[in-house]
Symmetry: C2
Subunit: 576 residues, 2 copies
């Protein structure tokens, strides 16, 4: 029981020096990668750079205690940072203390929601984010984030919550572009793209292993930061109009309670729910992919608690919403991490940065961070997924398109909600029209198949109907209409057999519909029979009076039913 | 095509004097029943009595043209009238002209919504009102309506939108009860209850047929109106404090456009949607029950259009929302109605009442109408349904209870919405956890059954998994977790076979999950196979690259798969 909620008790018992060595190596690599990301995603969220560092200390330690993934690297990520900026931007002006308070409060609420979902097993809610909706949303968010960073690359003002606003804000400023800033931005992007495309091949040719080459490539953004910061300091670029990060508050994160202002909670509740679910879905999918490679196990309900407490920890230590990051977790995995202890070691690394290194980041150009963000989010844009979905399923594509178009045109919150709403609507629509078939006997056998796909023997007096779905409230009206119409169209029918091998359950609405069908058929002098009802379904039906009121019989097999009600046809089909 | 939208063209062609005679008789009977109901339900909706009559003229004529039910009697009904009072009561004071305008506007919106649902085939939305939720809602509404009429029976003030408000409003007034009013109310209730319980048996003993006896019983409320009006006039009861209906505007309904105030539309849109769906569901279920008795056919999509245009007609002729009424339709049916023409004849009857009879209703006591309403709604309260649902299914009972408790405690709108929300949540929860089983070979056969219910042969190296549900977004994460955990727990496994006889479709999320499972299993050196994939599912899978990337094979039958991957076990099971 205790171990279920504290997985650290599980892996901690066998912790040894081998694991320690591997975890330490991974922690160093991830720390190098996390420094630029923390600073950049804090900027993306509209927060001071140290807030990004705060969000990368305590949450990692907490995840070490509660997390079930051995490899997940928790901390700020791009999509959640943008969602934070949008949610908090509605409440306060960027740079204000209220904005910062709202961001920490958002982390607290988001954490609370995750913990509640974990404790009350509400994780199934996350299932209603379909893959195409997530893919569409992430692609559109990637585009939005990249567009939003353009102002930092161009050295101008102009922001917005959707693509239209961003473009309209940037166009009138185009005359004010700062060329030095643009030069830094483009250089950093070029440098990182080159490294991604070329360095790996070069390193491989130099004899490095694939894993090591990957790790080196992923940690080079820190180089871009070091170089551009040095250049910016050496040539006093800030005097030439290049915006720099400026003074970062040094020292460990401040511990304080989040705001308990009820109005603020009400306003942030919706965004917090979205952030929780999106963050959770992304994080668990990464964790599962990595865990599978080593046949390790992720416990989704416990992951809710782990990510939830990590967010609460972020909030209490002055940070903003966090979750598991894709690129970082892969690097962590490749660097050979063995246990979540690596997260705690990474946290110590980032803590050291906040204490000792912040003064050296004073001259770091904002354009460097923006370029780092742009390169990172370009990998989120996935046109292949759009094409594959279009080919595979038009209704899934419709939900995906809704997520993309509304995210770009109306912002992240409306975007994700319209995608979810459309996919649930399509789901409800489909559920309400189950697959069914009129069946007949396959000549020479006792099997029954659809009369539209096979040449089968039927009787004009007996209607055999197979429904390939549980009978429950979304589809019972459909069932009633169908039986009703078939009987109205075929006046000769004297018996209806419902063949139920595909009926896994019958809820109270299903029962009432069957009662209504039975009563109506009885009034029209038609008997209702059943065949192949599954055991658990039969058990439940016996709790009601339905079987007593049934005008016909319940048969074990469809052949038995058909042979009893249309003996001539059944024998003829057998060729006797 | 034309006949699809105008069913009158269908039955009208064969109209003859026999049908005419039967329709006229039914129309007279229904008119006698509709007069007190129109007046009473207008009072229930908080509207002047003539508005109830207006709602019983043009809507009936329009339904004659568009309706697919031969027997449905459209007009004001109790539940919809209460919902109208609640929706409009939020906007204007009862008795004001704005209140009246809002009620006609509500009818227009509700009609528009129904027509749109019919034209765009959105009828499946109504499926999400499960039977237990409707039953709970109707029972609670019956109690609310009866409680709300108490003030008229007691001759006091005091109204409210939920049971608590009503009780709290009535208690302080209990000292002001008007005894004469109470006497009239109790007498009328007693008279009608006696008639319901005793008259039928008496008439049957006198040699009347069952149908005729039923009709006489259902039309007696008009007698109560005639008698109490006469007494009230004869003894000038209004001078003694008995509230009377007073002057009713005489003449045909005024034809006018509804309000096109956008704010009003916005406020009424939600209630209009609820009224549309509740009204539609109730109406179609009555129509289908009656149609089945004669093997006639109801077209639900066309019923949306018919009820929609009837409501628009009600709005244009100064009426409020209408739908098919249960008791009236049964009487119509029993009286031998043959075609919807009877509705038009009933409309003519009611029109004659509005022109000639309204002066005679001046002295009609309001208590008589209230008593008529109370007796009518008592039949809505169905404790048996609550008990049956409790016995049959606890989760359906939970949704029903939510509808009852919230309707009584917080009013009709919150009541119905909480019931629907809870039943959809339960649905989503169940959908997200499909039934599955590890299967093995039944000794001596080539059949495969669940290893938890049968003694079967399995192999430690091959995991055979049967999922009894389509693979789509609500359950794919469950599938991933399940496969992942089973493989993590059984390190010996080399092959996983997904047995798919119950998989009717695989959406894009399902496909991606299968891809993820395939990739993860491949990383863990486990092959993924399939067996018994259905034809249409296979067709769709071939549009993707999944089958090429699949680490294992696709087998036609589960036995084939097992025999290929675990030949020793399969042969042993066959006893060879």
């Amino acid at each position: 029981m205790l171990r279920q909620y504290f997985p650290i008790l599980d892996w901690g018992r066998n912790y040894n020096s081998g694991a320690l060595t591997n975890d330490l190596i991974a922690a160093v690599v991830v720390t190098l990668m996390l420094i630029p990301q923390s600073l950049a995603y804090a900027m993306l969220a509209g927060l001071p750079p140290q807030v990004g560092l705060y969000a990368s200390i305590l949450p990692l330690m907490v995840y070490t205690v509660f997390g079930t993934s051995r490899t997940l690297s928790v901390g700020p990520v791009a999509v959640v940072s943008l969602m934070t900026a949008v949610a908090v931007g509605d409440i306060a002006a960027q740079g204000s203390f209220d904005y910062y308070l709202a961001a920490t409060c958002l982390a607290f609420l988001s954490g609370l929601i995750l913990v509640i979902m974990g404790l009350f097993r509400l994780g199934f809610l996350a299932n209603f984010l379909s893959h195409p909706v997530i893919a569409g949303f992430i692609t559109a968010t990637g585009i939005l984030i990249a567009a939003g960073q353009l102002k930092h690359i161009l050295g101008i003002e102009g922001s917005g919550q959707n693509l239209v606003e961003i473009v309209l804000a940037i166009i009138p400023q185009l005359g004010k572009i700062n060329l030095l800033t643009l030069l830094i931005g483009v250089s950093v992007i070029g440098f990182q793209v080159l490294i991604r495309w070329r360095l790996k091949g070069l390193l491989l040719r130099l004899g490095l292993g694939l894993r090591v080459a990957d790790i080196v490539v992923k940690t080079t953004p820190i180089l871009a930061i070091a170089i551009t910061t040095f250049v910016s300091w050496r040539y006093a670029l800030d005097a030439a109009g290049v915006r720099i990060v400026g003074s970062i508050v040094a020292g460990l994160p401040p511990i304080s309670m989040p705001s308990f202002n009820l109005d603020l909670w009400r306003t942030l509740a919706g965004p917090a729910l979205l952030i929780s679910i999106i963050g959770f879905v992304e994080s668990v999918s990464i964790a599962q992919t990595l865990a599978a490679k080593r046949r390790q196990r992720i416990v989704p309900d416990q992951e809710f608690i782990a990510l939830g407490t990590a967010n609460i920890a972020s909030s209490l230590s002055g940070g903003f919403p966090v979750t598991g990051g894709f690129a970082r977790s892969v690097v962590n995995f490749d660097a050979g991490v063995e246990t979540p202890a690596a997260g705690a070691f990474t946290a110590i690394g980032i803590a050291a940065v906040t204490i000792y290194l912040t003064p050296y980041l004073f001259f770091l150009p904002q354009a460097t961070l923006a370029a780092t963000i742009i390169v990172a989010v370009l990998s989120l844009i996935d046109p292949g997924a759009i094409r594959r979905t279009w080919i595979y399923s038009k209704s899934d594509f419709a939900a995906m398109l809704a997520a993309i178009v509304f995210t770009l045109a109306a912002g992240v919150e409306i975007g994700i909600l319209s995608g979810v709403a459309l996919s649930i609507l399509i789901h409800l629509y489909r559920t309400s029209r189950p697959h069914w078939a009129i069946v007949g006997q396959v000549p020479g056998t006792e099997h029954f198949r659809s009369n539209s796909r096979h040449k089968v023997v039927t009787s004009p007096f007996v209607l055999s109907l197979r429904v390939d779905e549980s009978l429950y409230f979304p589809n019972v009206r459909f069932l009633e209409d169908m039986v009703h119409n078939l009987v109205a169209e075929n006046p000769a029918i004297k018996h209806v057999i419902l063949m139920c091998p595909g009926v896994n359950s019958i809820d109270a609405s299903g029962l009432e519909s069957l009662e209504a069908i039975n009563t109506r058929l009885k009034a029209a002098d038609v008997k209702l029979h059943f065949s192949e009802i599954k055991g658990p379904v039969m058990d439940r039906l016996q709790r009601s009076h339905f079987l007593e009121e049934l005008s016909g019989n319940v048969f074990l097999s469809q052949y038995e039913a058909f042979a009893a009600l249309a003996p001539d046809a059944a024998l003829k089909a057998l060729g006797r």
